[in-house]
């Protein structure tokens, strides 16, 4: 974990009045730090006084260079924090704290087909995982969903990496792939492959993750979920990012920190 100043290499916005807007940010770091799939950084433009808190962003891609590291993020432009990120221009400085959090247990996928289930701004957190699973010769299938085709973050990169045949899309408005939630094609796939060794890795909005966990339980397929929580620090000192995890105590659960105990948790460990 390092706390440093990164420089903006590029920041491409996909603005649109009707749909949600996204930004793709590439930062240059002097230090060549290790970055694992599922990990995240806390980011804030240096010139910005308000909002105060840095925003957690999952690493989307990393490009190693002899003299440092380029890291990419995809962010949905929502509130004040991401609006500030959207104003960044090439050469601007960004406060960077990372790499933070744990990673996925890839080894658990050996011998299984890896099913990546992505929702909205959750997909970036799965890209490096897909890359490394392929390197491990583990078959990867991506189920990616969003409100509309504009919300399928990184679809092109995923398709290039996995091949169109291994990318199943679903959109609520039917503008891309099947109409509805991505959990529908996921469930069909589980039905059609009962008995086959499968492992789910998922990241997306809470309701989707909850649905994924229920389906995974029904079909007895293990699932690793990458969670979100409001975060003040991102490195374990504020205890603000609590998530209920099953435990052998009277109440049946205790609170863990999404930032340091997570963001990746085993579905069966979560106390919904």
């Amino acid at each position: 974990m390092i706390d440093t100043i990164a420089t903006v290499e590029r920041n491409d916005l996909t603005h649109s009045a009707s749909t949600r807007s996204y930004g793709r940010l590439r930062l240059r770091l002097q230090q060549n730090i290790p970055v694992l799939p599922g990990q995240f950084a806390m980011l804030k433009p240096r010139a910005v006084i308000e909002p105060l808190l840095r925003r957690a962003m999952a690493f989307y891609q990393c490009h190693r260079r002899d003299d440092g590291l380029s890291v990419e993020f995809i962010y949905q432009i929502l509130g004040r924090g991401t609006q500030a990120l959207a104003r960044l221009e090439r050469g601007d400085e960004v406060e960077f704290l990372g790499a933070l959090g744990n990673t996925y247990d890839k080894a658990a996928a050996m011998g299984s087909e890896a099913l990546l289930v992505a929702g909205g701004a959750g997909s970036p957190a799965l890209f490096m995982l897909a890359e490394e699973l392929l390197q491990m010769k583990i078959p990867v299938r991506l189920f990616i969903g969003g409100a509309s085709r504009h919300d399928l973050c990184g679809l092109d990169d995923f398709t290039a990496l996995l091949g169109a045949g291994n990318v199943i899309t679903a959109t609520v408005d039917g503008t891309h792939g099947e109409k509805g939630f991505v959990t529908a094609p996921l469930e069909r796939h589980l039905q059609e492959n009962v008995g086959k060794p499968l492992l789910i890795f998922s990241c997306g909005p809470d309701p989707m993750l909850h649905r994924v966990s229920l389906i995974a339980a029904d079909y007895k397929v293990p699932a690793q979920l990458s969670l979100e929580a409001p975060m003040a620090c991102g490195f374990g000192i504020c205890v603000g990012c609590a998530v209920a995890v099953k435990a052998d105590v009277a109440e049946g659960f205790i609170y863990k920190k999404v930032c340091t105990d997570g963001p990746v948790f085993r579905s069966e460990h979560l106390h919904w």
């Binding site: 974990m1 706390d3 808190l53 003040a232 000192i237 205890v239």
Partner: protein, 308 residues
């Protein structure tokens, strides 16, 4: 250089010698160790730990934090590992550092405070105790000790009896007359005062129409409350003669100097640790620069020097 800094910034409060007046606030630095990767703990004047109770506590349901303009609301619910685990598992490593370790202690009854203190008394390497009698997140089924001078004095007196170490009492800004509480606590034997804890606030999600915090209300912290905190330090300084530890929105050396000039001998950096983990280090250097620039032999010459 560090040598030099120590001469300029070293200051004694309630018999505790701080290498400099810059410490980290309770609940904003975990048990101290979580910051060790990002800052030099040995350079820090002191560490006030996350609030400790006699027994471990689970804390509140999420959401526990909400960002606001210039600050944040928190309702962590005092989740902590308990005094025993702190002594057994955290203290041994913590005390390897030269910084002053000050556990922050709380309870829902005076007995619970005593219980926690007795457990901590067994530990070594502790400089003092800070009593959180004002944390507004706790649904103690009644007003907090801090809101009632008599109750605040009672818990202070009881803890003083049970403690072999200096006792620092942390005051709340959520009172009509903080000077009255300060005087009551001083009379009860407090060795120093921490001023201030968070201000009670609330935030509502206009789409769900629900409070953003599961606990409904929470404690407001950060630069937004700095003017309130400076005022509280100023009012408390004029009410008591025991030293004051200033807290509330401190993020820069300029902020820290404002508190020191208002009457604080030591300051705590809280929320700033979240968005600028090295804030405390920059503040130490900034205080040293100010002393040199104004040719002060030691920062203590600045404490409470506000001109009216």
């Amino acid at each position: 250089m560090t040598e030099n800094i120590n001469n300029l910034l070293s200051i004694e409060v309630a018999g505790i010698r701080f290498s400099n007046p810059v410490t980290t606030a309770s609940g904003t630095c975990g048990y101290g160790l979580d910051l060790k990767e990002l800052i030099d703990l040995n350079k820090l004047g002191g560490i006030f730990t996350k609030g400790l109770s006699a027994r471990p506590m689970r804390g509140n349901a999420p959401w526990r934090i909400v960002e606001t303009h210039g600050g944040m609301l928190n309702a962590i619910g005092l989740q902590n590992i308990g005094a025993r685990t702190f002594v057994d598992e955290k203290l041994p490593e913590l005390k390897k550092y030269t910084t002053q370790i000050i556990p922050n202690v709380f309870g829902y009854t005076i007995d619970e405070y005593i219980e926690a203190i007795e457990i901590l008394e067994a530990g070594s390497g502790i400089a003092a105790y800070e009593l959180n009698i004002s944390c507004p997140n706790v649904k103690a089924g009644g007003e907090s000790f801090a809101n009632n001078p008599r109750q605040a004095a009672a818990v202070t007196e009881a803890v003083k009896k049970a403690s072999s170490r200096p006792v620092i009492v942390k005051l709340s800004p959520n009172v009509t007359d903080i000077a009255e509480v300060a005087r009551a606590v001083e009379a009860a034997g407090a060795d120093a005062l921490s001023v201030i804890n968070t201000a009670v606030g609330m935030s509502i999600d206009i789409h769900t129409r629900r409070p953003r915090l599961a606990n409904v209300t929470g404690g407001l912290s950060g630069p937004a409350i700095k003017p309130i905190a400076v005022r509280c330090v100023f009012q408390t300084r004029r009410a008591v003669s025991i030293p004051i530890i200033g807290i509330g929105g401190i993020a820069t050396a300029e902020d820290a100097l404002e508190f020191i000039i208002a009457g604080a001998s030591v300051i705590q950096v809280g929320t700033a640790n979240f968005y600028d983990p090295s804030a405390s280090m920059k503040i130490i250097d900034g205080l040293a620069d100010y002393c040199r620039k104004h040719s002060l032999e030691n920062i203590s010459a600045l404490v409470g020097t506000v001109q009216l």
